[in-house]
């Protein structure tokens, strides 16, 4: 029998720590981390969440050139699990796929690659984010210049569409967060039963050959 007193005292201390620990307000994210990244205009948007639906706040985000591995951007998500940054000109010039990684530093990592086709064309930054909408109401007072107006309208529409589909993006993220369902659970138990059956068969053969050697 194993009776070392220090061992038992150590285990007792461990127990005390455990019992008092329930008042500690620590969190565990022992779940899958999910990431959704997209390009909006000339900005990169990243949203993170955990498989349980919990918002992935304060996740470290790194954006890399997927080909060379150069780190282009790094930061952290805000309390809403969102990260937003202007795409650096180097990323637009290279037109390489972007690898976006999110990690909580505690063993969870999610990544997504953005294809170069999704990146906006390298344009002068002034056309990417001009204060265009404020100029619109005064337009009827002036002769309408179609060449000037059409980019403004395009931009306004693009912005409106983005805002309209924002809930859809969240919906898609929420759908992809679905945890394992009944089929997976039943399937897993089925596998265990099957493995146990296989083990029983092998053991029976082993004992059979042991007791009746041929």
């Amino acid at each position: 029998m194993l009776k070392p007193v220090p061992l038992r005292l150590g285990l007792l201390a461990l127990l005390l720590v455990c019992v008092t620990a329930s008042w500690w307000t620590a969190t565990a994210h022992a779940h899958r981390l999910l990431i959704m990244a997209w390009v909006q205009g000339d900005r990169l948007m990243v949203e993170t969440a955990f498989g349980t639906g919990q918002i992935g706040a304060n996740m470290a985000i790194t954006v890399q050139d997927a080909v060379t591995g150069d780190v282009l951007l790094s930061g952290a998500t805000d309390a809403q699990g969102l990260y937003e940054a202007a795409l650096p000109a180097t990323a637009l010039e290279r037109r390489a796929p972007l690898l976006i990684q999110a990690t909580d530093g505690a063993g969870h990592l999610a990544e997504q690659t953005i294809a170069p086709e999704e990146l906006p064309a390298l344009a002068a930054p002034s056309t990417a984010s001009p204060p265009e909408v404020t100029g619109l109401p005064s337009l009827p007072d002036h002769p309408i210049d179609h060449a000037q107006l059409s980019p403004l309208i395009q931009q306004a529409i693009a912005e409106a569409v983005r805002q309209e589909i924002a809930p859809l993006r969240r919906e898609i993220l929420a759908l992809s967060q679905r945890g394992p369902g009944i089929p997976e659970i039943v399937g897993g138990i089925g596998w265990i039963v099957g493995l146990a059956g296989l083990g029983a068969l092998l053991l029976r053969r082993k004992t059979g050959t042991n007791t009746h050697p041929r």
Partner: protein, 210 residues
């Protein structure tokens, strides 16, 4: 505790695999027909336990129940937990195949150690058995958190604070698991005491294992 694919460095992954393989071999050698059904049942319990979320503060934690497997099965807990983690990785996308070695080691090794240390108490029945259940449930979870935190810290010094967080976050889980394992052992002691004494290794080689 599931460390995700791509977080750990290659030497840590190799170390995890290097510990897991002998553990599996030892466990499979000790797996006999009498324990096979119990092992399968505990594998199913472990497989499902990760889906049971306990709301805790702003977040929720999930159960491990590795202490129970270690207490009742000893080294056999190694293959049991390996199978559970493998199926969780394949079906739930918890963890991953490359980190399976590290995850198996961090979950199974503390469970087996707790089981080996506490099984003499378990066989005595009564209050010592209940104590063994409580300590095994709590100790195995804390050991798992420590090992997972160590794996993270060994990969990157920057993970050290995260590793501490992992351990702190698992303290409440340890308390919950200790209580659950205590109740399971108490229940088994009343209904199937043979399962508790069966957990003792056979006194002599070739003697009755149960």
């Amino acid at each position: 505790m599931h460390i995700t694919e791509g977080v750990l460095s290659a030497p840590v992954l190799a170390l995890g695999a290097a510990v897991t393989i002998p553990g599996l071999w030892l466990g499979l050698r000790r797996l006999d027909e009498d324990r096979l059904i119990l092992a399968a049942a505990l594998a199913a319990v472990f497989f499902i336990a990760s889906l049971i979320h306990v709301p805790l503060g702003p977040s929720s934690v999930h159960l491990l129940l590795n202490g129970l497997a270690g207490l009742l099965l000893g080294w056999v807990a190694f293959p049991v937990i390996f199978v559970g983690l493998l199926l969780q990785a394949l079906l739930f996308q918890f963890g991953g195949l490359l980190v399976l070695g590290v995850n198996t080691t961090s979950v199974a090794l503390p469970a087996v150690l707790c089981g080996l240390i506490l099984r003499p108490w378990l066989a005595r029945g009564g209050k010592p058995a209940l104590c063994a259940g409580l300590l095994a449930g709590a100790g195995a979870v804390l050991g798992t958190a420590l090992l997972a935190g160590t794996a993270l810290a060994m990969t990157d010094q920057g993970f050290l604070t995260a590793a501490k967080l992992v351990v702190l976050a698992h303290l409440p889980v340890a308390a919950i698991e200790g209580a659950i394992t205590l109740f399971v052992v108490g229940f088994l002691g009343q209904t199937r005491p043979d399962l508790l004494t069966c957990a003792l290794p056979p006194v002599t080689e070739g003697g009755p294992s149960c």
